[in-house]
Each structure stands twice: as structure tokens, then as C-alpha cells.
Amino acid sequence: MKWIDYASPNSIKEAVALLSNKNTVARAMAGGTDLIVQLRAAPERIGNPDVVVDIKNIPELNEINLDSKGLTLGSAVPMYKIYNNESITASYPALQDSTSLVGGIQIQGRASVGGNLCNSAPSGDTIPTLIALNATCKVDGPNGSRDLKVEDFCTGPGKSVLENGEILISIHIPAPSKGSGSSYLRFIPRNEMDIAVVGVGTSISLDGDIVKSVKVALASVGPTPILVSDAEKIIGKSIEDEDTLKIAGEAAKNAATPITDMRGTIEFRKHLCDVLTRRTLKIATERARGN
């Protein structure tokens, strides 16, 4: 039997020190809704940790700050604090979509967006939304801090750019431009407690009916969340045009590189990328107009 130590530092510095100690294998823990499951089911897949570093007591990691530049979200902030905050959900409806469908109410009380990102599951439900909303993240570690785009964060299933000892401090989402809207939809065969067969996060900004900018990102159809760059082909076109939606749907379908498994086949998943992209664009458009 393996004993696991538990540490609960109060500062980033302490946490980094614990996480970069060469004599132990340490893992950061925010809500623990991934980590504890992994520790019990397959500790070898996360390097057989012998120290769990609870990061919830670090003030910077609990920050929620919404101002004219946008939203800064500490990496350990639990989901319920996001979807219950009306200023956040008004500006970033896709973030409300995502955070309110992760797990169930108990999970949402603990699970964080930071943990969702660091866990880097291809199916992570908040990641496409963060990518669609142009989010960046701030990382600190033994070699100092750095900022990077969320779309560059995940490198493979369960893998990220985080180096040994590094921790995610916060996520920043720029303020939404006027006439913009966003949406996240996932497909699961049930209505709760399931892993996305496909997830699509979309943001759009419009000038009348004309698409000024668009960003579409996909979950569960590749080793990492996928940014659909070709969705930008609809910029300059009318969103009222069925063809416009078709082009975006087709782009999503082509960007997806899914596998066949118990959750769905390649064909079905590609098909869903198309359907959900069109649906999220419609919802995001409605929201943009409501703004």
C-alpha cells in the first residue's frame, strides 16, 4: 500500500516549491474531481504521486475579477461560482453553458475550470469555450511565470505544456466586443453525467447580419481540443444565409480527427461536429442580437 501525503500551501511560491521537489512526485489538486478518481482507479497513469498539493488556499487561484478588460478567473474557482455570477454569464454565455453541464451539482461545487484545462482531457467541456472566447492563461513555476493561449495549452490526452513544478494561476478572457455572442453544446446520449461524444464551443461577432469574427472549437474529436481555423471562411458572409452555416459545419467536420470507441463512431462524431457547429452558431447569433 502506498501512503500519500497531503499539503495545503498558502502561496504560489510554496506550492511551486512542493511541486518541484525532486524527491517526490507531487500533483496539484483543485477540486479533486479528476485527481481523486485517478488516484483511486489508475495512479500509475498520473505517475504514482506521493504528495497531493491542495491549491485551494492560495488567494490568487480563487480570484474572480471582471472589468473592462475582461474576466480573470483564478484556476481553482469552482464552476458554481461562475454560472451563479450574472455579470459573467451575461458577458460569456458559453461559459455558463459549459460550467453548468459539467457533472452534476455536487461536482460543480468543487470542479474548477483550471482543473478541467490542466486535466487536458479531449472531452473537457470548458476548453472549447475558452478557446472560442480567445482565453489566455497564466502559468507560474520554478523558472518564472509565462502567459499563453488556451488553444496552445493541451498537447495530447491528459498532456499539457505544463512543465514539472509549474502551476496554472489564472485564465483571462478578453471583454466581449459589441454585437457578439457565444454558445457551447455537447452531445451525450443521456441528459446528464456523461462524457461528451462531441462538444462545440462557438463565439461570433456580427455587424448586422455580417459575420465580423468567429471562433469555433471542438471537444472529443481528437487527442486535444481542436480549433476550427477554417470556420473563419464565413467572415464577411451573412449569418442568415444557410450556406454560411453549412460552410462552418463543413469546416468543423473536416477539422475533426475522431476515433471510433464506445461513445461513438468516426462518422457519427464528424456528423455531430457539423450539426452542433450550426446549432451553436445559431444560438450565439441570437445571443449576439440580444446583447
Binding site: 502506498k2 452531445f187 443521456r190 456523461d194 470507441d261 457519427f268 456528423h271
Partner: protein, 736 residues
């Protein structure tokens, strides 16, 4: 059915809804389940299981574990009695060959389960991997490997039922529909995993093996463990703990003999609790199947011929459920010419066990969707078409017996006139309605009940049926009815196998039937003794004494009357304690019929299916406690919905390992996937029960898949030929 409405038909207790006796303990967490059980000196056991679906065991090397810190004992098949080796023993721990992934090979007892788990990793087993098969059609293929090499093929059981002349029946038919279906292996999915704590007291004079276990049948656990371990049944005492669901899968002893052997070796009690993965990979499932149904009818809507060919997975060992599937296939219809062939086929999966109307749901989805298709071809209302062909009392079933009293017509009529059937569908083209009916014959078996009188006048009720569905309450209610007292004034408990006469298991929807008969006998006997006691106190003839509403009185002399309460106080001084019992093996269980009306919504762009509205109708004979009857109807319906929509043992290509042995990916329906399941209790009394009871636990699971498939057809034009009806499959068909 609106809450609180029930037909009491002159009864005082039966048909009412008192709070169940075991309710408080359960909702406050005081009830003790198998995993809660603890005893001083307890060791923890774990079982090593085969990683291969089919392999020869070349060697088992436990040397690395023998001296491991904290490990107290290791057992393998060598520790089971070696003479008269049986398949039952092989199922407990494999000797020469493993037959499925998850097949037990060895057991370890340690001071905690972490060490036991670590120890399993150090046991070295050498295998020679053999080709494996997973489905019944594969098993039937003559080129497939043999699971049991002493046999000529993988068919472990063939049943054939014939009525009339099938060929002529089809020749005379104006419409014939023939369809083939594949259904996936599914699991009972009860919340509480299998567990056993065993303490083997080896003292020479008083050898006793004590088992505390979650089971549907403490006497089966005793009997089968005794057989496997070559012990006299009296040497084993099985104490059934509260049970967190079973649905048919909690009869096998699984971990009991392993824990027993570990306890014998260590002299300490040993507890084994399965993980969910072990549950999926090594217990329970109900078979996947291949179903061929062919039905022919006249233009006027009379079915002339019906043929079924059923191939069911048996799992690794014989004991499958095709016989029941064959029996139920056409049982709701009066058909002159029938041919049913059923095959249980050995495959490299865990040995299948019962699951709520075992085998009936598989054949039902075939029959009831083909019936729907014929009704459509004849342009007849699907309920009307069923009514024309409905079976009734006295009609011979294809498997031989004539139907006793049976409520097919009553259920169909209730469906036909119900608002749910007659209300218009929403305008949307993505919602439509399907119907289906189902059958389960129900079982009986031996049952024992002991009653005694508490000094405060309450009645103590002792029974041997482990209580899954509220049977303590319903048996107490039947006893209370006979005695004219309140249900709350009967205190029921389920006891161990040393404290009550033989009682067969809680399965086949048998308990309220058989224990009801036994309870009725016991209560009638008790009433007689109470009357005799009062008569003897008064010095009058017992014939002149009656008992009503808990009062004993002389029918001749108004001044002579005493309450049961007051009589009870002085029993010891008026002749001694009063007890009674009822022990019986009643025949006369009668079938239950279910019917479902289900409104379904299909997202035609994604294939996602939602259940929008659902009403179940069931002929229950007599609902003793309507809440628990409705609970059974709803529970079975939900399991039928799960079977229809998403539940399956999923195997990746070329893999023999179940890919989804967790509740995350084995997708049972959750609260948000279900509408309110409306219930309509229909009471066609069973004349062979003092209160008219039929078993109610099972029929409800059989008909939802067909009703859902029939609704999906009306939405999409697609006749489903596979369960589960996964969105990906449905979408593929929609696109075609």
C-alpha cells in the same frame, strides 16, 4: 394512478399504504448492508481474476506473496474439495481453464484491502491463450472454438415448443412479417456490489461456517456453498444483510466459498466486497441474443402462425435463460400454430444470471415489434389487433400448460380507453407514440413464517425471504388483515437460516405470493389459538368466540370480550406463550401482464432519443401495498428503457475485454432521462391466493423496448433491429 387511491374491496389493511417497517432505518442510514458488516479480527479478501477471455492455465505461482507483510492466506482451486470436481467449483476458482475475462483464479486475505490488492499483482499465472467467442451467433458457428471441449458444440440447452402445424398456418396467412434482432448483453446494475463476510469456526464438536451476505436467497447461499465445500447444510449459517438491489443477480454464491476458504486457513473472519468493475466483468449479466420472429395473420387480423428462433448467450457455464424467453415469446396471444426453438449458447462471458423476467425482454422486443408491423400492414389499431388475438384463461401455451386466470384482455382494454392513448400527439413530427405488452408467468416455492405474540399485543413475524421490494411490509399487512389489527402492530424481521424453516429465494416475483400464503396460514393458526385461549379463560366453547378488529368476544354473551392487547399481557399465566407458523410450498402462482404506452422524441439530426411520456399498465392480481407495487412497475419500466436506449456490454474490435465496466460508460438512465412513469394498477385476482396476489416484480421490464421501437418507427419510418437503439445507429439508418 393518483396518490392514495386504491381499492380496498372491504379489506382494512390490504390496499392501504402504511409506512414500511424498514423505512426509517433505511432513510437514516442505520440499516446494515453487507459492506457495513464488521467483526473483530476481520481480514480483507481480494480475488485474482483472469485477464483473458479464454485460456489454459499452465501454472499459478503464489510464492512471491506467501511471505508478504500483511498477507495472511492465499487460496486457489487446489483449496476447494478436489473430489467430484464440478462446474460450480470451477466457477468459484478456475482449475485448468479460464472461460471469461474476470474468471476467478485465486483469493488473498490480508490485514487490509490495499495489501490484498498489491498481493494480487505478485501472483504469477502462466496462460496459453485460446481463441474466444462473445456472441450467440458466433457460438453457433461450427468453426468456432468449443467452450466445453467435452461437448460437440456450444449449445448447452435446446428447447422446442410446437403447437398445430406452422407450415399450414403460414400458407393460410394473408400477411407475413419476419424480422431478426440482435440485443446486447446487459447488467442488472443494482447499486450494492456483491459481498460476503465469512467466519469459519473449525472447532471439532461445533464446526460452523457463518456467512453474512447480500443475497436474494440465504438458503441458496447456504445450499450452494455447502455443495461446493462438501459441508452439511446445517454446518452453515447464512445471515442475509439488508440488500441494495439484486434484480435476479444475487443468487450465486460468488465470493462466499473463497472467503470461507480464506477464513478456514487463517482462523479469522474474512470479508470480500466486489468493485463495480468486478460486478460487470464477473457477475450477473443477462444474455445478449439473436432473435428471429415470423408471424402470419389473416386480412381480418387473426394471427394464424408464429415462429421464433432464439439464440441466447449463456456465458461461460450452462444455466441460461432461453427457456423462459421461449415460454414468454407468444404467451399473450391465442395462436393455433406455433413453433419456438430456443438455444442457450456458451460464450466467453461471465455466466449469465437472472434479470427481472429473465429472457422475456429479449424475445418480447421481437414479437411486439413484428405484431406492430402486421397491425400497420392490416391498417388496424395496434391495441385492437392485439385484442383480437389476446390469450385468456384455458388457452394452451406453446410450451404445454394451459393459462390459469390471466389479464391480457383487461390490460389491453385499460390501455385502449386510457387518456394517454387517446390524447392527440403534439404537432411536432419528432414525437410519436408506441405500445407493447409483455408477459411473465411468475414463480412460487417453499416458504416458512413464524408468528408469536409480544406482551403488548403486537405480533412478531419472522420470515426467511430476504426483502428487496418491501415484502416485510406486505407480509405484515396480510397477517394484520387476518388478525384484524394494524400493519404497524406486526413487527416483521428477516432472519438467518438457523432461525426459520426453509424459504426459497426472493425471485420470480414469488415472495408476496408464497409468503402471503404461508403468512395467511400462520395468521389463521394464530387467530385460532388466540380464540381458544380466550374461550378457555371464559370456560366457553371456542366455537362461540370470534376475533375482529383486535378484539376477542363471545358471540353468545356480550359481557365476554377482551382486547388482544389485554389477552397478550397475561398469556404466560393463562396457559403459556402463543406461537404459530405457516409452512407451505404452494402451487398456483399466476402470470402478470404488462402494457406500455410510450411517447418518444427523436432528434432527427443527431439520433438522440428522449422518453417524453410513459404509462405502464399491469395486472397485479391484488395490490397489497399499492406504493410498492407501483414502485415495481416503475422500476421495471426504467430498466426496460435503459435496455432499449443505451445499456450494453461494449467490446472494441478484436478485444474480448468489456470497454465500459463503469456506471459512467455503462449508460443506465438517470433522473433527467426519465419522465414521471405513470402507473395504472389493474386487479384481476389470482384465485389461488387468499388475497388474489400475482407476482408483480418482473413483467414491467419486458415491454418498454418494443413500445419505444414502435414509437421510433412512427417518427422515422425505421424498424429497429437492434438493442440498444443507440443514437449513432439510429442516425446511420436515418441517413440511409
Amino acid at each position: 394512478m393518483t396518490k392514495g387511491s386504491n381499492s380496498t374491496n372491504g379489506y382494512k389493511v390490504i390496499g392501504t399504504r402504511p409506512i414500511r417497517h424498514d423505512g426509517y432505518d433505511k432513510v437514516t442510514g442505520k440499516a446494515l448492508y453487507g459492506a457495513d458488516f464488521s467483526i473483530s479480527g476481520l481480514l480483507f479478501g481480494k480475488i485474482l481474476r483472469s485477464p483473458h477471455a479464454h485460456a489454459k492455465i499452465l501454472s499459478i505461482d503464489t510464492s512471491a506473496v506467501e511471505n508478504m507483510d500483511g498477507v495472511k492466506a492465499i487460496v486457489t482451486s487446489q483449496d476447494l474439495p478436489q473430489t467430484n470436481w464440478t462446474k460450480e467449483k470451477d466457477a468459484i476458482m478456475a482449475k485448468t481453464k479460464v472461460l471469461y475475462k474476470g474468471h476467478p483464479i485465486a483469493g488473498v486475505a490480508a490485514i487490509n484491502h490495499h495489501i490484498a490488492e498489491e498481493a494480487l499483482k505478485l501472483i504469477n499465472v502462466e496462460y496459453e491463450i485460446l481463441p474466444a467467442i462473445l456472441t450467440a451467433p458466433e457460438g453457433l458457428d461450427p468453426s468456432s472454438p468449443l467452450i466445453d471441449e467435452t461437448k460437440k458444440n456450444n449449445i448447452s440447452n435446446h428447447v422446442k415448443h410446437e403447437l398445430g402445424n406452422i407450415k399450414k398456418g403460414f400458407e393460410k396467412s394473408d400477411v407475413i412479417v419476419e424480422r431478426t434482432f440482435d440485443t446486447a448483453t446487459v447488467h442488472q446494475g443494482y447499486i450494492e456490489p456483491h459481498n460476503a463476510t465469512v467466519d469459519w469456526n473449525s472447532s471439532v464438536q461445533d464446526e460452523k461456517v457463518n456467512i453474512w451476505v447480500s443475497t436474494q436467497s440465504s438458503f441458496d447461499i447456504r445450499g450452494r456453498t455447502a455443495e461446493i465445500l462438501h459441508l452439511d447444510p446445517s454446518k452453515i449459517k447464512t445471515t442475509p444483510m439488508e440488500i441494495g438491489g439484486g434484480f435476479g443477480a444475487k443468487f450465486d454464491p460468488y465470493a462466499c466459498p473463497v472467503a470461507a476458504l480464506l477464513s478456514k486457513k487463517t482462523g479469522k473472519p474474512v470479508k470480500i466486497v466486489h468493485t463495480r468493475k468486478e460486478e460487470f466483468e464477473s457477475t450477473g449479466p443477462t444474455p445478449g441474443s439473436n432473435i428471429k420472429i415470423k408471424i402470419g395473420a389473416t386480412k381480418e387480423g387473426k394471427i394464424l402462425a408464429a415462429e421464433a428462433t432464439l439464440a441466447y448467450e449463456d456465458g461461460a457455464f450452462p444455466g441460461g435463460v432461453v427457456s423462459a424467453g421461449a415460454l414468454c415469446a407468444f404467451a399473450t396471444y391465442d395462436i393455433e400454430n406455433v413453433l419456438i426453438n430456443g438455444y442457450d449458447v456458451l460464450v466467453n462471458k461471465p455466466s449469465t444470471s437472472a434479470y427481472r423476467a429473465p429472457g422475456a425482454t429479449n424475445s418480447n422486443v421481437g414479437t411486439e415489434t413484428v405484431i406492430d408491423e402486421i397491425a400497420e400492414k392490416l391498417e388496424m389499431d395496434p391495441i385492437e389487433f392485439r385484442l383480437i388475438n389476446a390469450s385468456k384463461e384455458g388457452v394452451r401455451r406453446a410450451d404445454g400448460p394451459k393459462h390459469p386466470s390471466i389479464g391480457v384482455i383487461e390490460v389491453l382494454n385499460a390501455m385502449k380507453k386510457h387518456p394517454h392513448y387517446n390524447e392527440p400527439l403534439p404537432e411536432a413530427t419528432d414525437i410519436n407514440r408506441g405500445v407493447a405488452i409483455g408477459f411473465w408467468m411468475n414463480g412460487a416455492g417453499p416458504s416458512s413464517i413464524n408468528l408469536s405474540v409480544h406482551p403488548d399485543g403486537r405480533i412478531n413475524l419472522i420470515e426467511g425471504s430476504t426483502d428487496i421490494g418491501g415484502s416485510r411490509a406486505s407480509i405484515a399487512m396480510m397477517v394484520a388483515e387476518v388478525l384484524g389489527i394494524k400493519a404497524e402492530d406486526v413487527t416483521p424481521s428477516v432472519v438467518d437460516t438457523d432461525k426459520i424453516g426453509y424459504t426459497s429465494g426472493t425471485g420470480g416475483s414469488s415472495v408476496t405470493y408464497k409468503a402471503g400464503v404461508a403468512g395467511h396460514i400462520a395468521a389463521t393458526n394464530l387467530k385460532k389459538s388466540l380464540i381458544e385461549r380466550a374461550a378457555s379463560i371464559w370456560g366457553v366453547s371456542p366455537k362461540t368466540v370470534s376475533m375482529e378488529n383486535g378484539i376477542l368476544f363471545s358471540t353468545k354473551d356480550k359481557s365476554l370480550s377482551i382486547s388482544l392487547k389485554n389477552l397478550a399481557k397475561d398469556l404466560n399465566d393463562t396457559g403459556g406463550p402463543i406461537i404459530s407458523n405457516g409452512a407451505t410450498n404452494p402451487s398456483g402462482a399466476a402470470p402478470s401482464i404488462s402494457g406500455h404506452i410510450i411517447d418518444v422524441k427523436v432528434d432527427k439530426e443527431t439520433g438522440k432519443i428522449d422518453i417524453v411520456k410513459c404509462t405502464i399498465f399491469q395486472d397485479v392480481g391484488k395490490a397489497i401495498h399499492p406504493d410498492y407495487v407501483e414502485g415495481q412497475m416503475q422500476g421495471g419500466t426504467v430498466q426496460g428503457i435503459g435496455w432499449a436506449l443505451n445499456e450494453e456490454y461494449f467490446y472494441n474490435n478484436d478485444s474480448y475485454e468489456m470497454a465500459n465496466p463503469t456506471f459512467l460508460d455503462y449508460r443506465m438512465p438517470l433522473a433527467l432521462d426519465l419522465p414521471m412513469i405513470n402507473t395504472e394498477i389493474i386487479e384481476v385476482p389470482n384465485p389461488a391466493h387468499p388475497f388474489g396476489v400475482r407476482g408483480v416484480g418482473e413483467a414491467s421490464i419486458t415491454s418498454p423496448p418494443a413500445a419505444i421501437a414502435n414509437a421510433i418507427y412512427r417518427i422515422t419510418g425505421i424498424r429497429v433491429n437492434q438493442l440498444p437503439i443507440k443514437p449513432s445507429l439510429l442516425m446511420e439508418s436515418i441517413k440511409k
